[in-house]
Amino acid sequence: MTGPLTLAINGAHPRTVDVPDDERLLDTLRWRLGMKGTKEGCRTGDCGACTVLVDGETTLSCLTLSREVDGSKVTTIEGIADDPEGRKVQAAFEAEEALQCGYCTPGFIVALTGVRRELGPEASTAALVDGLQGNLCRCTGYLAILRAVERVREAPR
């Protein structure tokens, strides 16, 4: 079975595509809409590489049935810079070289943007780290990412 799916992605006008009932948001974004900045990792919800924002909330797109989020606003790495908070996070990752192979990077940037929004600008580093536990990185050892988190916290609003 397929059915219509309407999503407003990265601030664009809502767009409708026909998707199979069992398709995951990850696959809709990557293969149907050609937005491959969202990365496919474990597909079991354990790595965070596929993190996107659905109505502003950090969401594992590999565990999300596309048709269940019909009518939502979706933000992916391709549109994160349109959000001032997202741009700040992205700039911090670049400035701190908080990336190596880069495969986990889109998920981290989207997740940190979403967690900051959820917990508020005063959220402590510890709380932000707690919110990033589900995003795995195998290259950096996370310390550069922590420096990026600190940079975002200290950046002027």
Partner: protein
């Protein structure tokens, strides 16, 4: 200087292997063996062939028709008879969609006998080495070397310290799984893939398929982490075979479960160590290694002879014996994993040495300083030790231990680990420089895998060599059709080898420019904000004026190569098998501070310091990133990561929930210190860096646990349960 790929990657713009797609492509799926050990009777592809969407299905019987010579007889694409491990690919299908291909693969009927597999080394060889002979069919390699009067040393020893260590299998867990896209058209085989070695894939895949290397083109993508997992052909031969059979492009990608079940990595080992001491000095050491090499082919085991040398430690040892057995088991073949098997060896030998010092009542760092190699010492196989920062790094670690003893709370365990590795390994590489009016292009074969060696390391070499700003330097990675040869991003060699090749090409480039500028002496390049200039004394000529008409577009070309040379070993000390000499002697000395929960056995790493012998730091950010990343990966090896294999050869934890890599919550603050000045073979005296920082981590952590508790854990990883057992809680 930020890395040139930072903006692209942080915007989601980098295309990786898993992102590949092309018009009209099919999706391939491999058919797994249902047993770990058995003989194939037949493979029935008929149901799969007629399933919806299927275009081709191929198995062992189809190889002869599809491949000239049927491919490599020793390494066939699919096993012709004996299945060596569970989930070994025995056939493949390609269909219009991935779901259709998966469904069809399940329809393939694999008729195979089910024999008891060899999974557990010690169950099979309980009393080794007594129970082992090199004639046992399970032994794929047997290596022995010795020197000095071992018997006399053990007879006259004040103390003999004897222990057995066990290490676990570990996985790479590069975040991006393997993936490639193959096209075969008009006798040209073409594969785009995520790889650490395009030329290695070309050589390997061509050999497996039985086609000339020149007929195969390998193109790389951004690589979402390698760590050794993408250091040889893997999915590419299957994808090429399917593409040839289908006459259409085929995408073949692994899921994480496949990565765990079929990936080639470090496997378990048992290590026996005996050390003789007289008057507080080591007089002899015997090391014995039983290494699980999975379904490795006889004659292709590199790990055993390479690893076992590290089991003696970087120490002066008058008499020694080392003996290693590589055991063929029914698991995927042993494969390289960031400093293959070295963290495990160092865990054993450095825990052993640390414990020995404590038994003798000697400060463990002082004990190591008493024995550690200095430049000019001889290795056990009599190779002279080159510039080596081990002693200097140990002195720094000593001071760090003392400082932490003063400041950290009582009960904190502080441990030191020393890793030794041979970096800048000899494998060769070539580059092509192109100088245009406004930039210098470095053309070479490799793709960035994350370490920064390509996007930053090579740029840093050009910056230093030519004095040009980084934004005038561009590194490109063409396919094997036009790229100069390089052997691969592995072995802590990339910047060392390609950087030297850049220097060699640079020398030629400057000579040509000097001639063309009619300079009386050497020339250099300069950027005036708009264009590149050739400077000779006080005269400056724009590069554009020195280019010939046919160079206006592609630039002035100069090629350079570097084929490194290792030292020699004394073959008379080798009794059997192959041992290897070292290139750059590289030390990593780490200090870990831990707290141990005395009731549960949980270990928390509180602080960490890494002193890295590096020769010359070419880029501070890259240096720090490699060390921090290596330490974090090593903490996984030390504390949480292990592959578990059930008796029937099934992997018991093929996913990230039960194969536990570190998360952001477990990483302590890490102080990273460069020990410079002990120069290596790389450009400006740099030594390789990719592998060393992971090596001493398990040892440092285990020694810290021993320091905190007095209990010695002799098995990796140091899970809470293993620590609890060492603490005699159960």
């Amino acid at each position: 200087m930020t890395r040139s790929d930072a903006a692209l990657k942080s915007r989601g713009g980098a295309e990786y292997g898993l992102d590949l797609e092309t018009h009209g492509m099919l999706h391939g799926v491999l058919v797994p063996s249902p047993v770990a050990s058995g003989v194939l009777r037949s493979i029935d592809l008929s149901a799969a062939r007629t399933a919806p969407g299927v275009v081709v299905a191929v198995g062992p019987a189809e190889l002869a028709a599809l491949l000239p010579n049927g491919g490599d007889a020793e390494r066939p694409v699919f096993p012709r008879s004996r299945v060596m491990y569970r989930n070994q690919p025995v056939a493949a299908v390609a269909a219009r969609t991935l779901a259709e291909a998966r469904a069809a693969a399940r329809l393939v009927r694999v008729d195979v006998t089910n024999e008891p597999p060899l999974i557990d080394l010690e169950e099979r060889f309980p009393e080794w080495p007594a129970s082992l002979t090199s004639h046992d069919p399970a032994v794929v390699a047997h290596v022995v070397a010795r020197h000095g009067d071992l018997a006399a040393a053990f007879r006259t020893a004040d103390l003999v310290h004897s222990e057995t260590y066990r290490t676990s299998g570990i996985e790479h867990v590069a975040l991006e799984p393997h993936a490639c896209l193959a096209v075969v058209r008009d006798g040209t085989w073409h594969v785009t893939t995520t790889t650490q070695t395009p030329f290695g894939v070309r050589e390997d895949a061509a050999e497996i398929l039985g086609i000339p290397q020149e007929s195969l083109v390998v193109e790389g993508t951004w690589v979402g982490g390698g760590f050794g997992s993408k250091g040889a052909a893997f999915l590419e031969p299957y994808a090429l075979l399917l593409a040839a059979a289908a006459g259409r492009p085929v995408r073949l990608a692994f899921g994480y479960r496949d990565e765990f079940q079929v990936g080639r990595s470090t496997l378990p080992a048992v290590i026996r160590l005996d050390t003789a001491v007289r008057n507080g000095t080591i007089t002899a050491r015997r090391v014995r290694l039983l290494l699980d090499t999975g379904a490795s082919l006889p004659g292709r085991d590199f790990a055993t002879g390479y690893s076992i040398g590290f089991l003696l430690g970087p120490y002066r040892i008058p008499a020694f014996e080392m003996e290693g057995y590589a055991i063929r088991t029914n698991k995927p073949p042993f494969g390289p994993h960031r400093a293959p098997f070295a963290p495990q060896c160092v865990f054993a030998i450095d825990s052993h040495t640390d414990g020995l010092a404590r038994r003798l009542g000697v400060d463990p760092v002082e004990f190591r300083l008493r024995h550690v190699w200095r430049e000019g010492d001889r290795t056990p196989l009599d190779q002279p030790v080159g510039p080596f920062g081990a002693a200097a790094a140990l002195e720094l670690a000593h001071a760090k231990v003392a400082a932490w003893r003063r400041t950290l709370p009582a009960g904190t365990g502080i441990g030191v680990g020393i890793g030794f590795w041979s970096t800048s390994t000899g494998a060769g590489g070539e580059v092509r420089l192109r100088l245009t009016a406004t930039e210098l292009v470095v053309e070479q074969a490799e793709h960035e895998i994350g370490s920064g060696s390509i996007v930053r390391g090579l740029v840093a070499v050009v910056e230093r060599y030519f004095g040009l700003p980084a934004d005038r330097v561009r590194v490109t990675s063409p396919s094997t059709a036009t790229a100069p040869f390089d052997s691969g991003v592995f072995g802590s060699r990339t910047v060392a080898a390609l950087g030297k090749a850049v220097e060699a090409a640079g020398e030629k480039l400057l000579e040509t420019l000097a001639t063309r500028a009619r300079a009386s002496g050497p020339v250099r390049l300069e950027f005036d904000g708009r264009r590149l200039l050739v400077v000779s004394g006080r005269t400056k000529v724009p590069v554009s004026e020195l280019l010939q008409p046919d160079e206006r577009e592609g630039g002035l070309v100069a090629e350079g190569r570097h084929y490194g040379r290792s030292g020699a070993i004394d073959a008379s000390r080798v009794v059997e098998g192959t041992f290897y000499p070292y290139t750059d002697f590289t030390a990593s000395v780490h200090v870990a501070a831990v707290s141990v929960d005395r009731e549960t056995g949980s270990v928390k790493v509180l602080r960490y310091a890494a002193f890295q012998d590096i020769g010359t730091v070419l880029d501070a950010g890259m240096f720090r990133g490699q060390v921090e990343g290596g330490v974090a990966m090593g903490l996984g090896t030390a504390l949480t990561e292990e592959s578990l294999w059930a008796p029937d050869g099934r992997m018991a934890n093929p996913g990230l929930l039960d194969y536990r890599i570190p998360t952001i919550a477990e990483i302590p603050p890490i102080e990273v210190v460069a020990v410079e000045g002990f120069l290596g073979a790389g450009p400006f005296g740099a030594k390789g860096l990719g592998e060393p920082p992971i090596i001493p981590v398990p040892a440092a952590v285990a020694n810290a646990v021993a320091d905190a508790t007095g209990a010695r854990v002799t098995e990796l990883p140091l899970t809470p349960e293993r620590v609890a057992r060492a603490l005699k809680l159960l």
